[in-house]
Symmetry: C2
Subunit: 120 residues, 2 copies
């Protein structure tokens, strides 16, 4: 409702649906290398995004990949929302498959966004 | 020198050269949509990564892109290191070209990483 630019959040380039609020909020950075045989991965990834959208505290998501390497950043209101998502039942199942079948290696970082802006 | 896993940092999947220290440290998240005509972009991006590596406080970098959308995350020891890199002369020139020639739109976020782990 507030049209003052100082109070506006940022929009995620390429993911028009997502407009983030003014900081602070939380980001989960997920960088992964996938195995060559990643049967079922794309379907699960799409389903997990849909599920995340239904979680309380979910703010948005962006991802990109080159060859087998992927970067996914999801945004959340606070740490509790991240903990809730991490322990969501269907997401637990996806995490298990990720560890056993899909990911050669991955890295997870939890970070607090303190500043954000769009350009040019 | 410390081999205790509790004191070890994480490695960035797909960018073997980079091992990050134990948190806290800072991340700059850059998400962009490029114009179709992005002549000279790849060369400049490679040169900027080389330059960043020479900056004090630089810890590592990872990037991926799909179609015209790119995600680059660079890691730094602290906010001052980020400010120094933002005002580095050659980087200022690259930022100017980015705004005028390469980027349709972009988003920058500055975040403090508080937790990080590798898997599986």
């Amino acid at each position: 409702m507030n049209q003052n630019p100082e109070h506006a959040g940022v929009s995620l380039p390429g993911d028009e649906g997502y407009v983030l609020p003014k900081p602070p909020y939380m980001a989960v950075i997920f960088v992964s290398l996938r195995r060559e045989n990643d049967h079922g991965y794309a379907e699960m990834a799409a389903r997990m995004e849909q599920l995340a959208q239904q979680q309380e505290g979910f703010l948005g998501l962006t991802h990109a990949r080159v060859a087998g390497k992927g970067i996914t950043i999801s945004y959340w209101t606070d740490r509790q929302a991240i903990r809730n998502w991490k322990s969501q039942v269907d997401h637990l199942q996806a995490q298990k498959l990720g560890r056993s079948d899909w990911y050669e290696t991955y890295m997870v970082q939890i970070a607090e966004v303190g500043e954000a802006y769009n350009g040019p």
